[in-house]
Symmetry: C2
Subunit: 568 residues, 2 copies
Amino acid sequence: MTSKAEAPAASSPAGEPIQCDVMILGSGLAGSITGAILARQGAKVALVDAGHHPRFSVGESQNPQLVEWLHILAVRYDVPEIKYLLDIKAVTKNLGAHHGRKQSFGFVSHRPGREPDPREATMFIIPKMLTEATHMHRQDTDAFYLAVAAKYGCVVRQDWRATDIDFDDDGVTVTSAGGEVFRAKYLIDASGFRSPLAQKFSLREQPSRLKHHARSMFTHYVGIKPYDEVCNYPADLLPPQESPFHGGTLHHVIERGWFWIIPFNNHPDSRNPLCSVGLTFDERTYPKPKDMTPDQEFNKYLDMYPAIKRQFEGASRVREWVSTDDRIQYSSKQTVGPRWCLMSHAAGFVDPLYSRGLSNTFEVVDALCWRVLDALRDNDFSVERFEYVERLEQGLLDYNDKIVNASYIAFDHFRLWNAVFRVWACFTTPATMRLVKARQDWLLEGKNDDVFKRMENAPYPGLWWPDSHAFKYLLDTTHETCERYEAGEIDGDKAADLVFEAIRNCESVNTPFGWKGPEDLRYFRASTPTMIKFLWWCSTQAPGEMRDLGRSFVSGTVRQALRGKKLT
Amino acid sequence: MTSKAEAPAASSPAGEPIQCDVMILGSGLAGSITGAILARQGAKVALVDAGHHPRFSVGESQNPQLVEWLHILAVRYDVPEIKYLLDIKAVTKNLGAHHGRKQSFGFVSHRPGREPDPREATMFIIPKMLTEATHMHRQDTDAFYLAVAAKYGCVVRQDWRATDIDFDDDGVTVTSAGGEVFRAKYLIDASGFRSPLAQKFSLREQPSRLKHHARSMFTHYVGIKPYDEVCNYPADLLPPQESPFHGGTLHHVIERGWFWIIPFNNHPDSRNPLCSVGLTFDERTYPKPKDMTPDQEFNKYLDMYPAIKRQFEGASRVREWVSTDDRIQYSSKQTVGPRWCLMSHAAGFVDPLYSRGLSNTFEVVDALCWRVLDALRDNDFSVERFEYVERLEQGLLDYNDKIVNASYIAFDHFRLWNAVFRVWACFTTPATMRLVKARQDWLLEGKNDDVFKRMENAPYPGLWWPDSHAFKYLLDTTHETCERYEAGEIDGDKAADLVFEAIRNCESVNTPFGWKGPEDLRYFRASTPTMIKFLWWCSTQAPGEMRDLGRSFVSGTVRQALRGKKLT
């Protein structure tokens, strides 16, 4: 099954379309890795893009689930180059010393005109046992995986804008502005907001069903100071020494908005002096001014938040701002159809908060690729085969919308925000363990692909632990409580009480990490001893679904160790 | 003198121009490194570009003189980051594993419809003792040095097109399309062919005085096979085993043109699968077809040269072609003026042959930077102070034009081309030694900047050994002989006889490397033993200028070794 694909003929006689199995619109990380996977598995793939590489892109911050999804893709579809993204050391070695480390998600709450209260900060430190994640310098990663796709046999076109897309019973014909014609059996739209397929079939919901609202502005800076050096917090209120704010992605939280600080220079091996900077905020609260440059607008906000401003003293911008005019949320009423799929960001987008964009994307890539390969083999592209992808994509948008919307509502009330933060964070570890366990089981069962297919039998596709009734209930309760607070039905303290109570009552929320502990626990660090305690708790004390996951995770790890197998 | 500059204010009240000392148009490698140098030395610098990074660029292949000029810039102006470009190991460590090695300049002659004659190939292998040079992945190097410039305090603007440039007695006012205004004491135009200053002052020679003619098309490929694997040469006619064709820059020579093959994946540490590919050829012999795509045109030439075509079997293009409509040669009648300088590629361009573009550029950067810093200190920007820069820039163009024009003329006659190749190659080593020696002397004389200033007291600025009367005579003779062959006054063998004789008669051409040896010596490898023999020859047997250079080079090296000083 696995071999380099025979590439489609790289050019064709005038008038004759170039034949391929799959055409992919968009050569971002999602399109290129999908192309590499399909070509590696023998499909003839054309990978086209309306723009060209190298290019600036955001979506730099990994999360633990992204790392695990990439690892599954690498082994399941036998594309070893995907493993280069799995941790900061591998990225640095294989793609170059341009990338930062993502040790933690840190959040600091700010109020206009005031120094932040050092007690109004939270942090989730990613367990080292799971991964040492990366701030990816996207111009490098994206150009690299385009070349990987080409290496596996994808025919690549850049500056190639699809102007005509015509489906018939046997396939799809795609024509560029320059008149080149491709003929494919299946079309994957891996572009983005300006998705040609979404336009052609009028798939966008107008307005979007998503509850969350925000616009965004972002760029790259050089010379950003670590927040740790300028925050002036008492030592006992700083994060653990081994995990400073600057060791990961820092979120400066303001009312209905947040700044991101994503350094690429926070790993000893990195030679990239840049730092990604963004501000994402509700456009209803902060309408875009007509009479200000992005610099002027951004500086206005820096002037409001003195501790953030100190990070920017002496820093220089090295790119122009990207500043969106409108709300950045969008969604689609349908994401799969006869011989086509709108993949991930072509289907919809919520917010960069919690760095879920890429992990959502690669969960979709995983679900889509085996179906496309099966459909090619069977020459059967019926929509029912792709129905799970539809449910998954819509679920990813809806659950992500809930946690993000709840968070933005909570941002102005620290106790409530601290509770919502815990709801998000407490399920990150089991959600990741679930993926590690699947990869363990796949190996233990002799690389049995059914292991991965079985994962799809979950009641809540798109939820980050899609099997967990308890988590679904907790998330729904949290979101409803935040909406009640937003509507003025209850005050912030009451809402916080309700969410903290829901966390304490949720049987799948673990105790060793401290999620159910006192409110002044704010920096959550799953050290290796804590992880071991957690696994012991999972296996012995945890109820129901959590015990099942914990036991099989531990037993898989032990069985592998006994067999002397390294988890690939 | 050396400190991070105080940056110009990053924005200014409406109507008030932003004040700076130096404004640089163009943030390619030349503009960014110039900006970094000037800011490091205390100047307030604005660095603007009409486009933005990251971006594709050619000019990937280093030559030994470039490496030495960069080394001089790094120590003379105290910008240690420039040293990252000095060899493939430093580049890989500091900028990432995206770069190839440039072990050699290899040349293979081809005739339409025929397998190449294995005896019609030459190679100059760069002495390891001098450097292990690099094929630079320019999208990375260029974006990196932009950030270095910003780090040292340059105010950076991208997508910033200068629409108004107004000089007066006290400075220059530059306005962008967006209405932003900078006010500077000196303007460096480090752009390129579309130089705003060349347009404003009508500086371009129409037509260019340059004799050489060519157009060019280029892109990046993945999957290019090493020529060594497809050439089918008898083992005894291959280059030395430790320096295969694929270990450096390979030139496939055709009548009045050449293909470049510049792999980025030819170093064990490299993770970049790409290869730069170009075809540069006389537009008078090969007019650009109106009815072909670049793919069709390039494939037409691959079809003519079967051995080259084999390198491309299974390879995929990962970028669109850049294919120039016209001749790529241009020149300017004036390159410095009151408070301005057209730097290097804003002043003129000859051809990528021999990879001289960047070494020429950084020789100009070196000559310009100390003058600008002195002018700022003295507040005296009189044109006479910059007169050497004018002579240097014009000389670089003219001498480069001579060797390139002679080469293109000789390409169709292997014996003549073999002789012209030797003329170019035989002076590469002394030209580089001269720069190493200056750096040694600078250190030995207590970092005395006069050492570098003294280098400018040479009769032939722009010649790669500007002190050498013998070389000047040999180059002129070679060019005249080739022009007589081109005019049909003499046949190719006669021309070859004359050039070989001129080489033998040139006292500064060394014997240990074999330049004066039999014609069937075609692969020139200066191994470390050969280099030692060469240095012994320089110090004892060589006449005049060569002995002076050799003796001081050797004595400097010995004195440094005795003092235990590492050459910085």
